[in-house]
């Protein structure tokens, strides 16, 4: 399907340990999909496989109808797949503006204009706009390594957005953020164009409920349930996976 992501029997094994075990996932254009599950469920591994950071040991990844399973991260980025990292990923010795500029450098629309000069300066203006949208304009000239965890996380997001992704993979973007930071994050995510599909890995279920239209629960590398946040929250198998059978029984 054009404009959509599809994984087919996707599998990633590390020796005898299977982190992702035959996952079939379809994310349509503009979808807001959350991936949740207990620690070790394979969420980040799945995200890494889709982004090209890691390679699968089985199955296929289709993006906009093309098989990108063995494409490099660079090719996937240029095809419109952007990501943030579980631990905020910035270039610490450079300014925030430089960081965001690095995210915009190779986006498809500017791929022929790599050399320094006027085009880079034009990109700089756009990067400042992105920072302003995320409420980070004041940080533009600060050194990224001097910033707090939450600020770095937002800069990681700004860097990903600067690449104008059509599929945005977010790995625990709310982790370590204050309530105000989470509110700012949700505001920023809600501002994303409807054409951008988002796959969100998140432990904070309030964030998931506030943002995601669909939720897929992973458990032991396999999809356990898929549905709206309310449907998934009511699913007994999901509650059991999260809390354990005894506690669910006690809760009931």
């Amino acid at each position: 399907m054009n404009g959509s992501l599809e994984t087919v029997e996707l599998r990633r094994a590390y020796g005898s340990f299977v982190a992702v075990d035959g996952v079939d996932l379809t994310v349509g254009p503009g979808a807001r999909r959350a991936l949740i599950g207990p620690n070790g469920a394979g969420k980040t591994t799945l995200l890494n496989l889709i982004a090209g950071t890691d390679r699968p040991t089985g199955g296929r990844i289709l993006w906009q109808g093309r098989d990108v399973t063995w494409h490099s991260q660079r090719r996937r980025f240029r095809a419109g797949i952007g990501r943030t990292f579980q631990h905020p990923s910035v270039v610490p010795g450079r300014t925030v503006l430089d960081n965001v500029l690095l995210g915009a450098w190779h986006r498809p629309a500017t791929s022929r204009l790599r050399l320094p000069g006027r085009t880079v300066r034009e990109l700089t203006g756009e990067c400042r706009d992105i920072l302003a949208t995320l409420g980070l304009a004041d940080l533009a000239d600060r050194q990224a390594g001097d910033l707090s965890h939450g600020q770095r996380r937002m800069i990681d997001l700004a860097t990903a957005l600067a690449g104008r992704p059509r599929l945005l993979l977010l790995d625990e973007p709310a982790a370590g953020l204050t309530d105000d930071g989470i509110a700012a994050l949700l505001d920023a995510l809600r501002e994303l164009p409807e054409t951008v599909a988002v796959v969100l890995v998140e432990h904070n279920l309030d964030v998931v409920a506030a943002f995601a239209h669909e939720v897929t629960v992973l458990h032991h590398g396999r999809p356990l349930a898929t549905g709206t946040p309310a449907e998934v929250q009511a699913d007994e198998a999901v509650r059991e996976a999260y809390l354990g059978r005894r506690k669910v029984t006690e809760a009931v």
Binding site: Q73, A140, D156, G163
Partner: protein, 347 residues
């Protein structure tokens, strides 16, 4: 801490920045005057040592580009240096004594050599890079020893004719002329290198060095950037090799051995791994410690170099350039504790 973006350059300049810039410009002018005065104010031996320091400094600049900017700590920069030197020696045997041709061909040959060896090196990281580049350097030195028809083997190549800057110009026969030529070439190469590193190319290398995963996720061809840096550093080394022939008019495997590689890395550590001027200053310090100070106490040069290294590691952990940065930060700290002084400075 506020930092100026090399791309936008939009950070407002503070009075302290202006003072710092004035100081840096003043220091640069003083150093330039001192360097220009070397032939007229010193004896022949000191001029020779200064020339040697400049050539060795260029080798160190290449090491600094790779180690400090690309994040590839190298022990093999002596390899393109050797390629440049032996290529230049070969050119002189073809009666080509034009210095500019020497520089261009040596740079090209060294760049080509680096383009061939680079793909192996740039895929590695950390200690593995040191070992791979050490292997490249040692293999090159071994080739210099064994390929007698081209390199003269362990005897080296002697009787190399003097360089002419351009066809028809006089030969560079005395130490003063050679010094000026080497000084100009070193200044141009170091200046161009500094400009490139201050351009967006420097930003890309910083990204690769500090967060490769982020760069790859943002579509950057990290390996390509590193290969280009490796080739560029190789070209700088090649130019250094050409200058070695100009001032020494002799080359042997000893000029491109392991100890030269190690001292070049030491020069960068002393001067500051991300500073071009620091690399040049570190190289000068090593040459004068080894050959000038060592001349006062014959046989003790390795001891002085060892002491220099210890002092550098303990007193200047970020190199001389890092020490200058800390001094500036200290000055800013004093001004911030003394608002009156800051106000008067702003006024």
């Amino acid at each position: 801490m506020k930092r100026e973006s090399v791309i936008s350059g939009t950070t407002a300049e503070r009075p302290a920045d202006r003072t710092g810039r004035t100081l840096r410009i003043g220091a640069a002018v003083v150093v330039a005057v001192l360097l220009c005065a070397v032939p007229s104010q010193t004896d022949v031996y000191t001029t020779f040592l200064a020339t040697q320091a400049l050539v060795f400094g260029l080798l160190a600049v290449g090491v600094g580009v790779l180690t400090g900017h690309a994040g590839l700590a190298t022990m093999g920069q002596v390899a393109p240096y050797a390629v440049g030197a032996y290529t230049t020696a070969w050119l002189t045997r073809q009666d080509i004594t034009n210095g500019l041709v020497h520089l261009a061909v040596a740079a090209l040959a060294a760049a080509l050599f680096s383009a061939i060896t680079g793909p192996v090196v740039i895929r590695a990281r950390g200690v593995v890079v040191i070992m791979l580049t050490l292997a490249v350097g040692e293999l090159t030195a071994t080739a210099a020893n064994q390929w007698k028809s081209f390199t003269g083997g362990t005897d080296g190549l002697a009787g190399i004719p003097a360089t002419r800057v351009l066809p028809g110009t006089p030969e560079l026969l005395n130490e003063d002329q050679v010094y000026v030529y080497v000084l100009v070439v070193t200044a141009v190469v170091a200046g161009v290198t500094a400009l490139v590193l201050r351009s967006p190319a420097g930003l890309l290398l910083a990204g690769c060095r500090e967060n490769e995963a982020r760069m790859r996720a943002a579509g950057h061809p990290v390996d390509r950037y590193l290969l280009i840096a490796y080739i560029g550093a190789g070209a700088i080394g090649g130019i250094g090799g050409a200058l070695l022939i100009t001032y020494q008019r002799y080359v042997s495997p000893e000029d491109v051995g392991f100890d030269v590689s190690a001292l070049a890395l030491l020069a960068v550590v002393i001067g500051g791994v991300r500073s071009i001027t620091g690399a040049l200053a570190g190289a000068a310090l090593i040459v004068f410690t080894r050959d000038w100070l060592g001349g006062w106490w014959p046989g003790h040069a390795p001891l002085f170099l060892g002491l220099l290294f210890l002092v550098a590691v303990y007193v200047l952990p970020d190199g001389a350039a890092g020490f200058a940065g800390r001094a500036r930060a200290f000055g800013r700290g004093i001004r911030s504790r003394n608002p009156d002084a800051a106000k008067s400075e702003a006024a």
